[in-house]
């Protein structure tokens, strides 16, 4: 009798080895332990905590969230407790579970990003993710930092140097003329990996009150409606750079995850889905494992970039 071999779900992201390719996306998994009752954080490839700034941020006025045709538009506005409070009272607890933990970091200036990165460099955090693309955060000119290749390069270089060896992922914006220019810039600047995509700038209108539905007027669209856009951008970047790509945008099922991996993502992040079904990341991991077994594929990494476009 031959014993069926468990497929290998581990993936390598730079120096990190994740036990599976399913990562909790920033902003939908709190500071790592809020959902631990449903999803033990150590069962995921990694968890990325809520975006952290140098000082606590209050976020935007309510309403901050609205549904839109199978998706969500949020304008939370990066409310967070600040990096110091996170390091002091939360990081050790989440690390004690054995989870691989990333910190999403935000700032109002390039220097602020570097300062947050420096604070985290001396801690047990496993990696950083620079959020240069949140639609709720913009430069005085109104553009997200990530839209300008030179600013993006500078920001990434400074953060990489401030992080003193910690892997640095960069989460890029979807609405740019050529995503590959940005991807190459952050690769050149020393990024370990690219997270693609952040939410897409969007809005919703309350026709009764003739007002924007969100108090912040605009927000970021997430969920199933943005998956096709995300897939294309991941494919383009996977062809343009050598660093790993974490695909996100509407991953709800293991089939969605496979789509991202086939177009070149090394792993996926799940966000909106977790709000609806907190068990969904575990279901996606199980689904991927069963798929590999049924297809007799020994390792998930063999599927990476295997889409045939010719």
């Amino acid at each position: 009798m031959t014993q069926e071999k468990t497929p290998d779900l581990t993936v390598k992201i730079g120096p990190l080895v994740l036990k599976n390719p399913v990562i909790a996306a920033s902003g939908t998994f709190g500071y790592g332990l809020e959902l631990s009752d449903f999803v033990p954080p150590e069962s995921l490839g990694a968890v990325i905590v809520k975006g952290l700034s140098l000082e606590p941020w209050p976020g935007n006025p309510l309403p901050r969230l609205v549904e839109s045709s199978g998706g969500l538009i949020n304008a939370i506005g990066l409310e967070n407790m600040g990096v110091e409070e996170f390091i002091k009272n939360h990081l050790d607890k989440i690390k004690a579970t054995g989870a691989t933990v990333g910190a999403n970091i935000i700032g109002r200036t390039v220097e602020e990003y570097a300062q947050v990165a420096k604070c985290l460099a001396k801690t047990p955090i496993d990696f950083l993710e620079l959020n240069v693309s949140c639609p709720n955060l913009s430069t005085p000119g109104g553009l997200s930092f990530g839209s300008d290749p030179e600013i993006c390069f500078k920001l990434t270089s400074m953060a990489v140097s401030a992080a003193s060896g910690l892997p640095v992922f960069v989460k890029l914006p979807p609405l740019v003329t050529d995503i590959t220019i940005l991807a190459k810039k952050v690769e050149e600047a020393g990024a370990t990996a690219i997270s693609l995509i952040n939410t897409i700038p969007a809005m919703s209108v309350d026709i009764i009150n003739k007002r924007p539905t969100l108090a912040h007027v605009t927000g970021g669209l997430s969920g199933p409606p943005i998956k096709p856009i995300a897939l294309r951008l991941v494919m383009l970047c996977a062809q343009a750079v050598n660093i790993p790509i974490l695909g996100l945008g509407g991953v709800f099922t293991y089939q969605d995850a496979l789509e991202f991996i086939l177009v070149g993502a090394s792993a996926v992040q799940m966000g909106t889905a977790v709000l609806i079904d907190p068990l969904s990341p575990l279901k996606v991991i199980e689904g991927l494992s069963n798929y590999l077994k049924s297809q007799k594929i020994s390792s998930i990494s063999l599927l990476k970039g295997q889409i045939q476009t010719a």
């Binding site: 939908t28 449903f38 969230l65 199978g70 709000l275 609806i276």
Partner: protein
């Protein structure tokens, strides 16, 4: 199958509709099956997430679960009051017996945690519209008189149904088209407070809560409210319902509430 998450006591349950009774022109009393092997839920303002649409969603269908106060909890069923106001509440309003519905709860903090001595005093309960949601379980657990307000007759629930669990209640209708006093429910509530001071528990639109908070401050009585804000998760991670406190800092309606000390927050920020 019900999955109980021991640390938090939360339950995910693929439930079944037992009954969906129309109790007003746009209001439905949804009764769902709840496993008898579980402890009955002490509702007292706690809520649950309900979903009767697929995951992943239909292209243009509703996506998130929706939060509802637990109207009443028994050994083997739970009741929710659904006001049909949009696409997802329309789906819930149209459910019939034996259809399936996803339940995640109980969530949030109830009156017992915010005001531990709640049984020691008689109360006034003030409900505006769909704010009747949490009231049956509250009424069941303490001595109270219910004040019920609506904007127009088109929204009023059946007075017979209401008195079946609320007993002798006071009604008000803003435009005078329906039963009860003409004008906002805050009028009769303020009069009652002049005659006899009691703590007030209220649930309703932000402006009503603001008005009641002013009345209670003048009458020097405690004011507890079940607050509402659009929620993404109900579990404290998305921060959609995070609002500022008067004293500084913030609270998340989903897990620091929904029952809150009404004097601690500015209800205007919820409009």
């Amino acid at each position: 199958m019900a999955t109980v998450f021991k640390k938090s006591g939360r339950i995910i349950y693929e439930s079944t509709v037992l009954q969906n009774q129309m109790v007003g022109p746009n209001t439905f009393l949804l009764t769902i099956d709840y496993p008898t092997q579980n402890e009955p839920i002490l509702a007292l303002g706690r809520f649950a997430r309900l979903r009767a649409w697929p995951y992943p969603p239909f292209a243009c269908g509703p996506l998130l679960d929706r939060p509802f106060s637990i109207h009443k909890s028994t050994e083997n069923s739970l009741q929710f009051l659904i006001r049909c106001v949009g696409p997802s509440t329309a789906i819930l309003s149209n459910l019939t017996a034996r259809q399936s519905i996803e339940f995640l709860g109980p969530l949030g903090r109830g009156l017992d945690l915010v005001y531990p001595d709640y049984k020691k005093t008689p109360w006034y309960l003030a409900a505006g519209g769909a704010g009747l949601g949490p009231m049956a379980t509250i009424k069941e657990n303490l001595e109270a008189r219910l004040f019920y307000g609506e904007r127009t007759k088109e929204n009023q629930v059946s007075a017979d149904w209401l008195s079946s669990w609320a007993g002798d209640f006071v009604a008000a209708c803003d435009d005078g088209s329906g039963y009860g006093f003409k004008g906002p429910v805050t009028g009769p509530l303020a009069e009652a407070l002049e005659k006899e001071k009691r703590p007030v528990f209220a649930c309703g639109p932000p402006l009503m809560l603001k008005a009641i908070s002013d009345i209670c401050r003048m009458a020097k009585v405690p004011f507890l409210a079940s607050a509402e804000a659009f929620m993404g998760c109900g579990l404290g991670v998305c921060l959609s319902c995070s609002m500022p406190k008067k004293s500084g800092g913030r609270i998340k309606i989903c897990c620091d509430g929904p029952v809150v000390d009404g004097r601690a927050i500015n209800f205007e920020t919820l409009t």
